[in-house]
Symmetry: D2
Subunit: 337 residues, 4 copies
């Protein structure tokens, strides 16, 4: 942490800051510049989190040097983390593909989709039973009924299940039926939910918030890890910008950036990231080419009749083409699917 | 709703869309343009919410004409709504000022602040007992203990209490002690929490999400109203942009915009909106001048020692100056404080 | 400037950075923290502008402490600057109102508007002769013909003239006829044009770019000042965000922020800032209440027939109401119009 | 175009709009809905560009259905355009790689870089002679001297030259020496410069503006095409968002989106798009995987000593690795380099 003093800070003001820091056992280095004095602070800045140094007389600004998260950072855990989920590994050499309908609609829909996906080499079936919808008048999901259908699909195909929890109550339900719980973009800073997920020890997909910086995303992971759950898969799903042609702007560069800053695996969701099925295939290729550890994609046997997010769902033919493309790109990166 | 067909849509494709809509009892108007055909759809589009018309053969785009919310809209309730809370009225001629510390720290801090605010003409005391913090290492609030302190302040001063709920569990606690519950920016799309607040009938301050459009904000209000709770006060608290000098960019224009689109009262939070106490006074004046029905401001007896958000808190002298300024601006607008 | 070394930077790497800086005559302070070493650099960092320290072995990041502009900063010129333009003063106690049609359309339109504005106490007539339009198919302005009409209006009413230059060629024309030249948002980083304006010594309104930070805006002013022209009036006109209800999001907080960081006067353009005439009056009040030194507003005798920006232009009645409102707010701030 | 009337629009108001449109020879379709009347307008809306229909009594909103550009759109020219530049083809099956230093610094630097790039299969040498820099204190380029060095490199290696013009004056110089002129992000809406480029008939790389929508970007292309120059290569270089870890957020999805909307070729600039050399290789792979027709990349023999943008420049080893990667990805897409 560096404290930048005002151009006209007095000696007394500088001494005041120095004294406070030394009382708190911090190391202090004072640099008197031509225009300003800056004070370097050495020690664990988390002890200073609640001291508003900005308000001390003579202080202009406080510049944070270290990232605020620790457990999620690569400095803490230099090796990349792999997450084991009932026989599948995420974050290793193998790229994982999760696919399925946006919302669980019926047993028939889910089972037939699951069978198709199984043939394609998919290992995780995704499907929403609790749907966070912008309008209260939109379809809100089948809830526990939907989870039971997913469990049935798992039994019949062996695919593992990913499903979203939107509250502590739905988390309890999802934990009963799913192999991985998903925390959606709108809940990335629902800190109570993050803490509950942390206590649950369930493997979790943590989606990036609509307007979350990479740092805030890793801070959200830190909330979960701080409760003892290290089984976190990050998921880039597009951020909000001024562009309106796409539903969101998929920040592909966050994939290699997160790989640099954190040891956690990161996957991509091109369906929500673009909101347009025609863009899902090229953006899936891009995500894998940029180093993603996997994809989560919306697939529907008949997107025209989907109860949620039809315009961004792939049909079977398109999904088959997607798998062919990314298999080849995986090889280039020395990986496999 | 208007359906824009592709430039080369065939007659069969156009007839297909027409048939589907007529089967659903919609009125249909077909306009054959020089470049494209467009189809006007008449009827309650909520019935079409789950039909992905974009995927029908020949369809290029669907353009929504009507806003998706209803109860929150001014068309539904042309008169401005006033909300009565234990003898105080919000949204009427009188401008309401809510103030207090970001976080409840101690009985002494809260009671002394409450006494000061009471003298200043403030009618609501705000204070956080449950704090949503970006980092798990930051102070998370005193929880029920904090609510009890607020209740004590209410008893001693008569100020009504505003406090934030961050989960359904904390909502139950807040409901026991506070007069108004606050839903923070990070929970604006925590739909389960919105539904719980809707069922509670408690007056609620609904803050705009960090990256929420005005339409999404009114949709969030709709969630609450759809459960039967119409006592909603909207609160502009800044949105996320590329600017980094301020903590957020306060969208003052949302105040008159919301007054046009909705009948609900709207207040402003210049403390979170700017993150810098020096900007709080000019932005408070701006918000009132733009037509806000009130302010919610962070005040601390000694901001340098605040456990949360010190840099954006006003001390007593600054707050006194703020009240003087906005009293005069209220008069210009034919209002009072 | 502070250089943050990587967690595992070696002694040799640290010594390498130290040596480079000392060779360039910088003062160096090394702070060895528990996790990292940080190096404080003392001296004029502008000498380091072209040295990519980030690429030296062991360096993680470079954190800039001082703002990159100098002449535009309040440290350089602590008193607020007032700009004198042919008898009028901008940035002093008096708030200046500039008004007129978006585009000059005809002599009749301009002269009648000018006469109306004169009666209202306006001192500057604005009107576009060169129009930067997003589409090549939109009206591009009357060019020199338009400037002559403005000059005629000046002769008849005594109002001073503000008009936009969009290129070095149009700048020469505008300089012949106008009292203040305007540089629009799209040209805020047209550095050659800024340099030409700097050499011209003409008073200039410098609008904030659509996605410019406050720092970049002040850097743009620095370009002009660096050529010797200190007569700069900054103008907030809204920035681009995800909100689509308004044409731009007017960043009212930039007004007091600029007053803190810079000595230059700052005015506001609520017409482009909102794109909706109904929001112009409340946002004008807000801008003045936040401390703006003036307004620039689009007024048209008959907005329905305007060739450009009709939807955001005020008619005479609305403009009269605006003037009444801001006169009263000016008094509260100890100012006048 | 669709005109949405207010909920309480009267019959006279609806008739008024109808009459105006019929007088202008538009086809009109009126749909009376349960809540509102909407009016479909048939005809060339460019004739209505200057009629502010929003201000007519009873009108609530005007919704544009067709894109405002024409020549740049795929409807106008369904086949993808290929651009021939002195023996090289851009936009065809072959992916083009343009590379070189951010700024031309010396003959030695440029010639040695050019020789290296030639061996790598690069066909275009990029180098800035006129540099648009945020601060006036940064290196502004060698100007004509720099162009002469590029011409020399062309003579010695046969590489074709790409260089940026920042004003009409520099455009004349660039046109003398370069094979392709580049219009940078900050000048994307410098409309006079676009018109000059349009008149010049020079092949042009048109970079996307920092906060430009895809529609505005294609409108900027339209300005150039409207003057008769159809040799336009679009270039995605990152947009401005709230994320600060990367210099910009590279919108990879704009690549397939532009391919859908327009017939023009599109390339990607991962150097400016990310601002971090470590991200350049994964983002180059991503851009090619998403369908880009080429790349423009900053390469420097010794990035540590670069006078501009060192932190985002690749050295020779990294660039060699990049070429290997993208060659393999090109094959997957049925293309070559």
């Amino acid at each position: 942490m560096v404290i930048v003093m005002k151009p006209k800070a007095t000696k007394e003001e500088i001494a005041g800051v120095e004294k406070l820091l030394k009382n708190l056992d911090f190391g202090v280095h004072i640099s008197e510049g031509s225009e300003r004095t800056i004070i370097g602070v050495i020690g664990d800045k988390r002890k200073l989190a609640e001291t508003p140094l900005e308000l001390m007389p003579g202080v202009d600004r406080v510049v944070h040097i270290l990232e605020p998260y620790k457990l999620a950072g690569r400095a803490f855990h230099p090796e990349s983390t792999t997450i084991k989920v009932n026989g599948q590994v995420i974050g290793g050499n193998k790229i994982v593909v999760m696919a399925g309908p946006c919302a669980v609609e019926s047993e028939e829909q889910v089972i037939s989709t699951a069978r198709f996906l199984k043939e394609q080499g998919v290992t995780f079936l995704r499907g929403g039973a609790y749907k966070p919808r912008t309008s209260p008048y939109s379809f809100q999901g089948l809830e526990e009924e939907g989870l039971k259908i997913l469990a049935q699909a798992r039994k019949e195909t062996g695919l593992l299940i990913v499903s979203e929890a939107v509250s502590t109550r739905s988390l309890e339900q999802v934990a009963k039926y799913a192999d991985i719980v998903q925390i959606g973009a709108r809940n990335m800073q629902n800190f109570h939910l993050l803490q509950e997920v942390g206590r649950s020890r369930l493997p979790v997909i943590l989606k990036r918030g609509l307007s979350a910086t990479i740092e805030e995303w890793l801070n959200a992971a830190e909330y979960i890890m701080n409760e003892g759950n290290y089984n976190i898969i990050l998921c880039e799903r597009g951020i909000r910008t001024f562009e309106t042609y796409t539903r969101n702007t998929m920040d592909i560069s966050s994939i290699p950036a997160v790989k640099e800053l954190s040891h956690l695996p990161v996957i991509a969701d091109p369906s929500h990231g673009t909101g347009r099925w025609k863009l899902v295939i090229p953006m899936s290729r891009a995500a894998i080419a940029a180093g993603a550890d996997g994809l989560i994609v919306e697939v529907h046997p008949n997107p025209k009749e989907a109860l949620s997010d039809g315009p961004q769902s792939l049909n079977y033919d398109s999904f088959t083409a997607l798998m062919e493309d990314i298999r080849k790109i995986a090889v280039i990166l020395g990986r496999e699917i």
